[in-house]
Symmetry: C2
Subunit: 298 residues, 2 copies
DNA sequence: TACTATCGATAGGCGTTTCCTATGGAACTG
DNA sequence: CAGTTCCATAGGAAACGCCTATCGATAGTA
């Protein structure tokens, strides 16, 4: 057994695709196939089922995957002995753009107060990137919105929050306490780009309720969406946490009557990767801080 | 970093000698030197100090050694996924010949009752072999007599026991309850081969008290020594646990007056190696069983 | 049913790596 | 001070991993 074989196998198991796994490992696909075959031969068991179009883990493969990930994470850690990074613990957090600026700052502040020595880095990117970062070991923990269904990830729900209707302050509907879905039917919308999971979630929510929004314009940033709403370009849906930081009087936020659109915020990390104690400390901080701050909001 | 480099490094660190490490790894010494140099280069730090005659671990080397051993033990475990040995836990115990037959059977019986699925193997050999087996990972746990001073081993004392004077039943000294060292001065002795730590311990005990024994004959087995004593070939020292199983009326055992010779029995295992839960269970069984059985003897 | 795209396995040549033997130089030992 | 032990270096041979090209199989589509 060699480390490269473990790396190739884990990549193939994660991506369920030899070609893309080879790409990620920076080698040609036959090399990866060859090494995985060699690994299986040395173990005397098939680890991956290539019969179908998609690659799947066999039972022995599942067993082995867990150990392989553990080994590779320890190797990662051991390699940092040289750079003196062992004494200086490291925390790499990923979060999606519709969560990061609202949720992270207070949590990171509290965390750094207790873990002054830690070297913290934050990655802000779309869900797919955060997920693959956690799987590949580039990130220690990710903060995203559900659903997440990647097998090797441990998903821990933090809280659910409502998506509020954002209106220009002078909009007729702003006078009401609650807004109905029907009332939104003919309104122009300013939506978040569908690259964001939040943007996509809102569109599919509207489709389900058979009131496809008349999209007036789209933006890639929640803050921009809020500004455009304030300028009267249209309505939008905005998560509670983004309302909390909005001090402008140009916009008001209203609950939707009936089944409210919600999103669930969760933290994710690799189920088998061995993590530094610092990472567990951050997860605790995040979990605790959110419970209290959610309680405060209510 | 490659696994082979870790294997070479750990071997060199364990044996504190490149030449013998290479031998253990089944390669020529320059290959091992080369790979270790490469590992150090990739980490950017020196792991082994070769300035003196003996190889010594640097500070970074100590750090790295711990992780390397952990990784290699996980690799060992992962390699057993193939042979289905993961479902069937494994226990490999080593013990020295002057302990094994007296101490192990009841402990193994109790252990197997609780861990029926476990595949137990017992190795009976001299201290040096048990020690190197534990260091090399061929044994999960060893049972030996102190002193043991190999750095990577965790040593846990189990109990101390007296070495009794074994006499032929008809010997004049058998009439006394206690025997003095002076009285042994002119007696012929039947001793255990010095290859055994017990044999060596007894000789050095006698030398310290300036009553070098007149060795009549030596044997490689404690049981044989007892038989020879029974036949009147001479006196000997025998640990308490070997007396307990001696049902013959040909021999009697007496305490020595004054500072009694004692030996300390301990279990040892590799400080950093990751062990299956089964091994911890065995250690607990051994620890508990010995406390009670020692209490019973007193 | 046939066509096409996707995907992993196989074949053969190339370059790198690791390993070996032989030898050199430094550090303890008698 | 000679002898021994032990790690490092040098250079050639064997082995290994990787690459490109190509094949066969599977699954979706006309």
């Amino acid at each position: 057994m060699e480390l490269q074989q473990l790396r190739y196998f884990v990549a193939a198991a994660d991506l369920r695709n030899f070609t893309r796994a080879a790409e990620r490992c920076g080698v040609a696909q036959p090399s990866l196939s060859q090494q995985i075959a060699k690994l299986e031969q040395s173990l005397g068991k098939t680890l991956l089922d290539r019969s179908g179009r998609r690659v799947a883990l066999t039972d022995a493969g599942e067993e082995f995957y867990e150990r392989a990930v553990k080994i590779l994470s320890l190797v990662d850690e051991a390699e940092r002995v040289g750079s003196g990074a062992v004494e200086r613990p490291r925390l790499r957090v990923g979060a999606i753009p519709t969560i990061a600026p609202y949720l992270l700052p207070p949590v990171l502040k509290e965390f750094s107060a207790k873990n002054a020595a830690a070297e913290v880095s934050v990655v802000e990117d779309l869900t797919a990137e955060i997920v693959s970062g956690c799987i590949a070991g580039d990130l220690d923990v990710g903060i995203v919105a559900l659903p997440i269904d990647d097998a090797p990830l441990h998903v821990e729900q933090l809280f659910r929050e409502e998506l509020l209707v954002a209106l220009p302050a002078r909009h007729p509907l702003a006078k009401k306490n609650r807004v109905t879905a029907a009332e939104l039917a003919r309104e122009p919308f300013v939506l978040l780009s569908e690259a964001h999971c939040l943007g996509e979630q809102i569109v599919s929510y509207c489709r389900q309720r058979e009131c496809p929004p008349r999209v007036h314009c789209r933006s890639g940033q929640l803050l921009t969406v809020q500004e455009l709403v304030g300028l009267g370009y249209g309505l939008s849906f905005v998560p509670e946490m983004a309302r909390a930081t909005d001090r402008s009087k140009l916009r008001v936020y209203r609950s939707l009557a009936g089944a409210k659109p919600m999103r669930t915020v969760a933290m994710i990390w690799h189920r088998f990767r061995v993590q530094q104690p610092t990472v567990a400390a951050f997860r605790e901080t995040l979990k605790k801080s959110r419970t209290t701050s959610v309680a405060n909001e209510k």
